[in-house]
Symmetry: D2
Subunit: 270 residues, 4 copies
Amino acid sequence: MVVDTQNEKPRHRIQLNKVGVKDLKTFLITERSGLRHHIIPRVEFTIDLPADLKGVHMSRLVESMTEVISEEFSIYKSVEELQNRILDALSVKHGFKRGEIIFDFEFSYASKTPASRKRTWEVCDITASTVKAEGKPNIHCAEVRVIGNTVCPHCMANNHGLTHMQRAVGTLGVEGTTDQIPTYGDMIDVIERSFSSPTYSLLKLEDEMHVTKEMYDNPLFVEDVCRNILQKAKEKFEDLTLEMYAEARSLESIHKHDVIAQGQIVVNGG
Amino acid sequence: MVVDTQNEKPRHRIQLNKVGVKDLKTFLITERSGLRHHIIPRVEFTIDLPADLKGVHMSRLVESMTEVISEEFSIYKSVEELQNRILDALSVKHGFKRGEIIFDFEFSYASKTPASRKRTWEVCDITASTVKAEGKPNIHCAEVRVIGNTVCPHCMANNHGLTHMQRAVGTLGVEGTTDQIPTYGDMIDVIERSFSSPTYSLLKLEDEMHVTKEMYDNPLFVEDVCRNILQKAKEKFEDLTLEMYAEARSLESIHKHDVIAQGQIVVNGG
Amino acid sequence: MVVDTQNEKPRHRIQLNKVGVKDLKTFLITERSGLRHHIIPRVEFTIDLPADLKGVHMSRLVESMTEVISEEFSIYKSVEELQNRILDALSVKHGFKRGEIIFDFEFSYASKTPASRKRTWEVCDITASTVKAEGKPNIHCAEVRVIGNTVCPHCMANNHGLTHMQRAVGTLGVEGTTDQIPTYGDMIDVIERSFSSPTYSLLKLEDEMHVTKEMYDNPLFVEDVCRNILQKAKEKFEDLTLEMYAEARSLESIHKHDVIAQGQIVVNGG
Amino acid sequence: MVVDTQNEKPRHRIQLNKVGVKDLKTFLITERSGLRHHIIPRVEFTIDLPADLKGVHMSRLVESMTEVISEEFSIYKSVEELQNRILDALSVKHGFKRGEIIFDFEFSYASKTPASRKRTWEVCDITASTVKAEGKPNIHCAEVRVIGNTVCPHCMANNHGLTHMQRAVGTLGVEGTTDQIPTYGDMIDVIERSFSSPTYSLLKLEDEMHVTKEMYDNPLFVEDVCRNILQKAKEKFEDLTLEMYAEARSLESIHKHDVIAQGQIVVNGG
């Protein structure tokens, strides 16, 4: 006979917000518009725990996820759809008022060099999460982080056109219901167009000249890049209803530290 | 004549929440009760930026910090006091409605092995921050992360006393005004007493037997450790007014992933 | 007219061992025995630079890799084969005496829970490299890192069968020519059988009992795990000619630090 | 009666190169020329293990280190001197043919801004190790990593003086006997003078102009920076006998990846 320790009374009756697994790596496949993505996400999957229960049955969380991921004949068309299914599967196995599943993963996409038009492969970082709470529609958050650059307009204005520039990271996060989340490709496009210039794995000499010219023509503070991301996201996603936030981070070439700018905005496409 | 690019109008009039430096490493000294600590924090220091200004004068942030840290004849007795002074110094150089400074650092403390009573040195991780907002008292957050262990009570109950155990990390965060923040030593003590057993750099055989016995005598889920931290903090800091949160994370020995539990609580010592 | 700065004389005539790109992320596909793997490696790709040349044409390294990866109608059956092809492609575009390409990536594989026989997905870390040097066959190094656990036999022997246990990481590296490198699956198998017990993403109660029993039946120091890996690799790969090394690392549950053991061995299957 | 499991015969008679502790954090103080440094190193401390012994007595390693660090009335004047003492202390407690101790830590130093001459605090990363092997003098390795920048000379030559620039990391490693190891300050100085320009935590506008001008006047590939470090170290340490290696790494502003150059050299001051 099994002793169900998790269902005993806890010594201290304190409600817990999040209990579950973290830094679990697994494997899944999505397919949208004929593009198949194999993803190895780092997973955090948690539920709330009432004050009068000692523990969560952790294996039911992992089992729900593994069963949904391994189902044959069903390729999910988005991470959001997959996460909805996992939370639905869990709700049959384990009670919760609020469940949340977060995937962190790398995402690859094809690009073209700007002048020589050669093919390149680029990779960005994504965090995608879903919250299922009693009596509410599921809410997703998709955060995309892409590398570009910044060029200092203050130094340029005071230094006869010469200035410092550096690698930068742009972040766009969007939060909304399942049918409102844009594709990662559209989010990447917004971020790349917000830098002094986008960056590429491969640049032949003519491409390098092109990127360098674009940088000098387009000097931007992190403050400018952050506002660009928010403004361009607002325009691109004007038909959607989303809370959005952005960050620009610059790995300063004249300092050992970074500089950052963060902001947020709401679009209401309804 | 200097062109003051930062004071120009931005292209997109969007207010930004946080603009400043990140991952800046610096050096400072605190001294309390005769104990001197040299600290090399990783710093994030940001202010808000109104919608109609293009940029923040970043060098004024760094200058405020460097001046306060380098002042001679003044050793600060706590990180909170030092951060208050830096934010005050900045408010003379640069306008802001909300300023925030965050230090991440390692903190060393002496301990004794549990049976042989030899001296050991232990190190934990700390994040300490201060927010200065218009018309409000400064609010600090101190978060301490200490390594201990957990022992699975469910496996023990179903397996004739045999069970799995593992390294764990306990976190306690407290938020309050300057005179309410406890010492790091008291926070470390709360966390260490919340595990199945505390851990030590040095353990002679008799100490190892002692720690192992304590572990088997005290099987705890992460849920239990998290609640222990909250309960013991509530008791220890009952005379203070603080918002508190805790996390326990277990680096499962039978899995490749971790399990976590998070909760929060308020003490009102007034 | 293009100025070819790289071909100028350097200020200081010092030969350099390795010049190239690092932490470049790209995307590739391998397929062996019907199993297709999408991989996002972090790449280091370098060549030597003679004392009388100022620089390497870095874009030719990236171009060689991108062209080989993007070729249609050709799926590579192993990372080694792919890396050979990239180094061959580079040797047409750029002179070098020694070229080296290193991929770091995560690798997923299906497993079964030990008692309930449910499917699980496991993920390990791999570093795979190829060196092409003048007048020698290409040499590959494949290093696989898998998570398992250790159980202390010294504490068990002195403590009436009670002991501490913890998560551990086992590493096996093999070095040899293209036709001698074993599959990652065989290397994972060697490592998993060398721990006190392997670990799993998913464990139902009966599996947890099974794993815990295996751990108590099989107490091992990191020294034992390291020697197990070397011995089992020697037996499994006895028909191959390889230099091999191993490491076991234990995330001690009674300490805040890890313990490690490293060794090496040669098998000569000729 | 204690069972000494470590002294039993192992199942597989394989000699191990390194057995010991890793990622142990401790606390120590050095003082040279009146400058006191509190250091929190991450420690790896290992010895070899003969084929016929099952295990190392790990606690003796930690005990040797803790006793030497905690001795009163004795402040060590260098990390090398301290590491020699720890290895000597261990050799009394535990047999070994080869012992190695490695400290990784952050090191802070005061600097001046280049034009306004204000004080700044800078921080670099250091790895310092000592090997004690039978019948040989102790050999130390000191590796210092400092942040600066690079400016592309190829792009500048082909683009009417406009070019891209970026943050860079310079590394200098030296290996020699106790009396040959230079100070960290001298090693930092060599690296800082090898970049297009050094970097600073604090830069007022006049400093920023100064640094930017220096960058455009001094375009350098990573290959140039690496050779500069080796050449300047050779000149600065010409009276010493050292094996030296260097790396320059550039966080390219036009790419998502880094570029690196590595070389080595010997100085024989005898």
